[in-house]
Symmetry: C2
Subunit: 420 residues, 2 copies
């Protein structure tokens, strides 16, 4: 009982779910602004859960709001194959980032239902909470918790800009579940995602086989200074936390430029200060920044430069600096066998494909800590993402969707249990 090689995902049906999603939490023209655990996120989750139940899946919500929708396997005692991504977006987000992978997982299950194919292993499709980190820092909070990187209580205590905690927000939208996140055997994890870069689109390549992740180091840094008058107070006595944070972000941007020729990136993404008003020096500021490079050793050098820049920014401004949070991800984390399977499936289905690294962070990075993991990239127009102009059409998405279908089934049907 194998899935016929001719089976394909029902693209129009998949596209309809993308279109439904594109109406929930609309942002700027053509885009979405569906922050994690917002009312729009709740609406989208409710719809997703309904779709999952309609597809015969049993839905479980865990204590950090991850939605698992399970399709029983022929041997339902075997660890499940997980397939998923996220339904939250950036504040100026697109219609595909995360969404294509989550709804792609749903389409996979619907296609298997149509084909009457029951995989040997159970399949669980998943929506991970707060992947973007746009509302609660750090990003990939809930997949990190699932993988054992973060405690549930710690996740619940994260606060958004208005001081609302992750736990309160979960409860208020009705997605504070009972299930413990993770802590159980997982066979493997697959994630379909738009590339979020220009490589596939520019090269007219249909499928991206993700070999590894750029090594990324991120920082949330807090500076403390002292308020004073912007006029008479001598430069020598100033302790302007806003300037400390600005100096750090400029330094990180400079580091990014220094490594740009080899594809390195340095980003100042966020700066908040208090009082942050005309006429007064700020006594508090927070900055979020990160550096990334394909080569882990180079990324480590960039990270050590960021750490020196934190100290330098504090010293230059008479402020104190505290690194409140630090995260890193990427590297050679994906499973060779799964990556090879995806490459083989793409060839077999007749799609052009190429190997490439992921430069963005993904939930898959955390899953790779606990099970064999792989990602499939689809092209997106011009590589534009985290922007309302993010775009992809049938030609971009359909090949990846079919590769997801057949490579997941190949894994879920494997007779060899020694792999898990």
């Amino acid at each position: 009982m194998t899935l016929a090689a001719s089976v394909r995902a029902d693209f129009p049906r998949f596209w309809k779910t993308i279109e439904y999603s594109a109406e929930i939490g609309t942002g700027r023209s053509g885009g979405l602004s569906r922050l994690a655990l917002s009312d729009a996120d709740r609406q989208m989750r409710d719809l997703f859960v309904t779709w999952c139940r309609d597809a015969g899946l049993s839905v479980t919500i865990d204590r950090v709001g991850n939605i698992h929708a399970r399709r029983a396997g022929r041997d339902d005692t075997l660890p499940p194959v997980l397939v998923g991504s996220h339904l939250d977006t950036q504040e100026n987000g697109g219609r595909f980032d995360g969404i294509a992978g989550t709804l792609g997982a749903l389409e996979l299950v619907r296609s298997l239902n149509d084909a009457g194919h029951i995989t040997r292993r159970p399949i669980e499709i998943v929506n991970w909470t707060n992947e973007e980190g746009a509302r609660f820092s750090p990003p990939m909070t809930a997949s990190g918790c699932f993988a054992g990187a973060y405690e549930v209580d710690w996740v619940h205590a994260r606060q958004d800009d208005d001081g609302i905690t992750f736990g309160e927000a979960l409860r208020s939208i009705g997605y504070l579940g009972d299930a413990a996140p993770g802590g159980r055997a997982i066979d493997s994890y697959f994630e379909l995602h738009i590339e979020q870069g220009p490589v596939l689109d520019a090269g007219n390549v249909q499928v991206g086989v993700v070999t590894h992740g750029f090594r990324s180091h991120g920082y949330l840094v807090e500076f403390h200074g002292e308020t004073a008058h912007t006029g008479p107070w001598p430069m020598e006595r100033r302790r302007n936390a806003l300037i400390a944070a600005a100096r750090l972000l400029v330094a990180v941007d400079d580091i990014g430029w220094e490594y740009a020729q080899t594809g390195g990136k340095g980003t100042g993404a966020r700066l908040v200060a208090w009082p942050n008003k005309a006429g007064i020096l700020s006594d508090w500021a927070q900055a979020v920044c990160d550096v990334r490079h394909d080569d882990p050793a180079t990324a480590a050098i960039m990270a050590s430069r960021v750490e020196a820049a934190i100290d330098a920014a504090a010293a230059r401004t008479g402020c104190t600096a505290t690194t409140l949070d630090r995260w890193d991800w990427g590297g050679k984390i994906f499973d060779d066998a799964l990556v090879a399977e995806i490459r083989r499936t793409a060839s077999h289905l007749g799609y052009s494909h190429r190997d490439l690294p992921s430069q963005a962070g993904h939930d898959a990075y955390f899953l790779a800590r606990i099970c064999p993991t792989a990602m499939i990239f689809t092209p997106c127009r011009g590589g534009i993402t985290h922007n309302n102009n993010e775009n992809a059409g049938r030609a971009d998405l359909e090949p990846g969707l079919n590769v997801l279908l057949h490579s997941v089934v190949a894994r879920a049907d494997l007779e060899d249990d020694s792999i898990s």
Copy 2:
């Protein structure tokens, strides 16, 4: 009919008003957080108006919320002598900045009532709206309007961080008056203020005779870029408005340091960006900055350096920059005769005094455009201001208060009408 040289302000009575004020809109320990046109500002205004009426003054509110409380003169057709300052504070403000001058003006009137002295010219004590600029930009908004620098409609359209306009806020606290701001003859303007710098306190000097203002150039700059992913998006294509604004503020801080040896200042005071979130480049940012120097020519050079830095920050980040607002003040603006009168009065009353410039902006700067103007500084502890630890006591404030009383009366009683 002259005021006896032995008359003194009733310091305990004055101090009681300071203490009342210190309870309205309390901030951090010992400080105030009484933003312009907030509910706390309304409470303070209501109390001030009550005090003014109790002192027999006739109160007028103008269309930008300035409170004028008039004490008739012997020749009430003559233009009035204005005396005042502001009752709003910074978000982390002190109990004296602006307040000492406004309540000092009230005490002046009360002292004249006690002495039964009617000045030849009418005296108007004034509370100017939004001097700090902490809620609405620019600072000294309403004294600027009174002096003809800003149109009423323009002032009403200023927005705070929550999008509430100056006009809406005025109406909501009941201080949208009928009177046209300015546009009438004013004899002169006096303002008592804490120094907000360390000179008098360090030198144990009782009274500061303000000769002129540091020349100050301020900017509100907006940058536009484009949102994109903080990971895959190439450095060469990034247009991160947050980094543009950060680069500008760091450059302004550097300019300040360069001129620090001659007392120059450069301040990055405010930075806001959107979306300003982890994971996404910001496509919008605003920055507020200024430079100041005692020498106007040097200040002009510093300002031209800021303007070059605005362009450089935009060019470096691929953003566009627009200077939304630009303000400047200071220089040789005060009236020689009034300044000499203050110096003479301080000597006559037996107070130690010294000439010094003001490094902060004051409502007096705008009044100087339309009438002879002078300021009196009192010491404040350590020069600390725009900080909840701002402090001053009887020894600091009483001499300035008495100099205000006698120099205002000297002016208001002058028989020579050719001066106006």
